[in-house]
Amino acid sequence: MKKKDLEMFRNIGISAHIDSGKTTLTERILFYTQRIHAIHEVRGKDGVGATMDSMELEKERGITIQSAATYCNWKGYDINIIDTPGHVDFTIEVERALRVLDGAVLILCSVGGVQSQSITVTRQMTRYNVPRIAFINKCDRTGANPYRVAKQIREKLGMNAVMMQIPIGLEGDMEGVVDLVTMKAIYFDGDNGEIMREEEIPEHLRDEADERREELLDNASMFSDELLEAILEGEPTVEMINDAVRRGTIALEMAPVFIGSAYKNKGVQPLLNAVANYLPSPLDIKNIALDLDNDEQEVVLSSNEEDPLVSLAFKLEDGRYGQLTYVRNYQGSLKKGDTIINSRTGKKVKVGRLVRMHSDEMEEIAESGAGDIVALFGIDCASGDTFTAKQINYSMSSMHVPAAVISLAIIPVDNKAQNNMSKALNRFTKEDPTFRSFVDHETNETIISGMGELHLEVYIERMKREYDAEVEVGAPQVAYRETITRRAEFNYTHKKQSGGSGQFGRVGGYMEPLEEGEYEFVDKIVGGSIPREFISSCDKGFSKSMAKGALAGFPVTGIRCVINDGASHAVDSSDVAFQLASVGAFKEGYLKAGPVLMEPIMKVAVEGPSEFQGGIMGSLNQRRGIIVGTLEENDYTAVESEVPLSEMFGYSTVLRSLTQGKAEFTMEFASYRQVPKSVSEEIIEEVRKKEKEKK
């Protein structure tokens, strides 16, 4: 793509709290950009459902899980919209989508305002330096107050929110908006609000508009000397203001705020103008890759079409015609028939079909340039893989993948389901690195693990619907771990001299808690009491022991094993002998080292009307939760707490009945912490009982 064209390119995300109308807004955008020709509502009566939620399950639940990419064109601007999920259980999806965005629209509900999920998403966007504009939606609803929401954006999200519009009427009386840049009133006529009508600002709003424009100019002039001069001398032009706002937005120093109601077809077209005017093009963003041939040195990518290709696979989907891989090109161009390299596997891949996606429909294209988002057909890869041209070996920096906190057993009901289940698991684990599956060799059960109850539920549903794999589901299991609390010595001799070649090895040393990291092996042997060639055998023996702790059989973490003494035999010592000696030494030391159980602690945020604060805190307290803090604003309360995951099962039902459905909660993994003694004893007992049953 030519530089000139790239300036007209926008890769944006639409990100929001659940239920703030993200899917409805996307639907309207596609309608006004003429990508679709009729408007369907989420959970609509016509049974068709909004276009972006492409998976059936999403349609049924009214939530968006996968971040499908969709293309549209607005006044000559090419816009790729990455729809991002609004639930914390799917944050890896959100984070991955954020990597490929150049800018984002943050949707907020004019009544609910900034809620905990918006805070989480905003934090993630700040981490990936994504410039944002805000859209305060649902201004037609009772209790709408965009000014309050703008204030919350400043206070709770720490963003410099600047109103770019003011509403003409609110709630049921909302008629349109006043554009503070052009100082015109805008109304939305026609059946679907498709005709924008510009008028003079209504008399009663003049003063308010003048005042807010003043604020806007004050803020914008920080980013443009030209604008500052123009303001001092008289009337600044629309172009000057737009230019300054754009600079402030791209520098992440300013968040322009727009208002409207997507459902009532108000304010969507001005938002599209804002995407074009204020959000960055791929040229405005610096992207960095790691050079694998050069010790992972950082390389700045060029956005140049002549340079060698660098492209990131950020999303896989199982389409009707096989695997569909969404890629974002950062540099160079991707043509049909090209041979590209997957830098993770080193394998050559031939580009077959290249398509531009519009939700379920697709458009075949021959070539795509730097900055574009397209999909490839029939390419085998995992999500997060980097593709490059032959002459370079770059990787986009690897993404942080958190450890799973919850697991459950799934049992296929029959043979057919067994086959389909394997296919489904194979696909899901490729799509989502936080979703894992393995077979427990002791029970022969298939175990899936992930980031939360809902996370696993969604995959089980998808197995049924998309793969026809009916499975029975075991009770969710918390991923406990074991660790030690104090230093302990070991000195263990492994000896076997009955028949055949003998085995001999003695390992002496100590183990101690490791504050950071999972396992460390330190060799302090002097004088060769354990021969060089067997040191690594000791390491192997210890690390093998970490897989299953002697307390309750959970994986062990946070241990440093130090060896400083030992003995060997000229004939009978071997790799195996020292591995077994180390396993014995580990066991000996471990039980003396005060082993304890650790459990995942979740950060749980509950929000709702203040009248329920006491009840909410009580319910968290009952679940062994620590109330970290509360936040109270007018009639609205948020409670932040840390609660063990094992206590959170079924909490949504409890919360609903406790608060008449008026409160909601989000939960994300915080850390592993020691299980209190009484609880720990129960868990260990439970494990022992199960083991007995097996025998």
Binding site: E155, N621, V628, G629, L631
Partner: protein, 234 residues
Amino acid sequence: MQKQDLINNNPLRALSPAGELQSVGRVSLVMARAGVGKTAILVQIALDKMLRGKNILHVSIGQSLDKTKVWYDDIFNSIVEGKKLENMVSIREDMIRHRMIMTFNAETFSVPKLEERLRDLVDQNIFRPDCLLVDGFDCAKTSAEELSDMRDLMASMEMNIWISARSHRDDDRVSNSGVPAPCHELDSLFDTVILLEPKPEEKSIALNVIKDTASAGEPGKILNLDPATLMLKA
């Protein structure tokens, strides 16, 4: 270093009201101009109590929960910096159990509301604080009756309270014992009053105890804060 050394070496030990653990129902006030270190001193008092196993309720008016947590993290880090504290991770985890933070925006906060919330916590057995710290208290908005109710409440619940309030450059009214506006009219309701006064020529901030009903001896004992870190100096 052991936890106990950390407690014993705390410069706060030199200050009798903050060192006091036994007495209850005390109402103490820290006053200063904006940015001098009111929050920092409250957090240091709170951390000292948490280390000694007391529960504290930090009430923050106009500051977010995250910001308040950062204050605690930063000051704890400064306290243990370079001290090679043993079992630091578990001490830190243990301390968090002794703390709860309540944040209000300025419009929502009132003394009766705080009282209601406090009763909720105690009655439901969710959290029983030994000490309250109210950061960003507006004396101008509070009547003598309300504050006196608060005093009674603290006494009946066997708690202590520390309040921080901001004084203003252009308002030079003071009470007889030297409490500046806007808290001058509530003077008699405080057991301890500490003023933070920047001393640019000495490169420090003086912690000036202008009133202290508990100490038999000299009010006017002075500790100092390092203006860069806002940490108490021994």
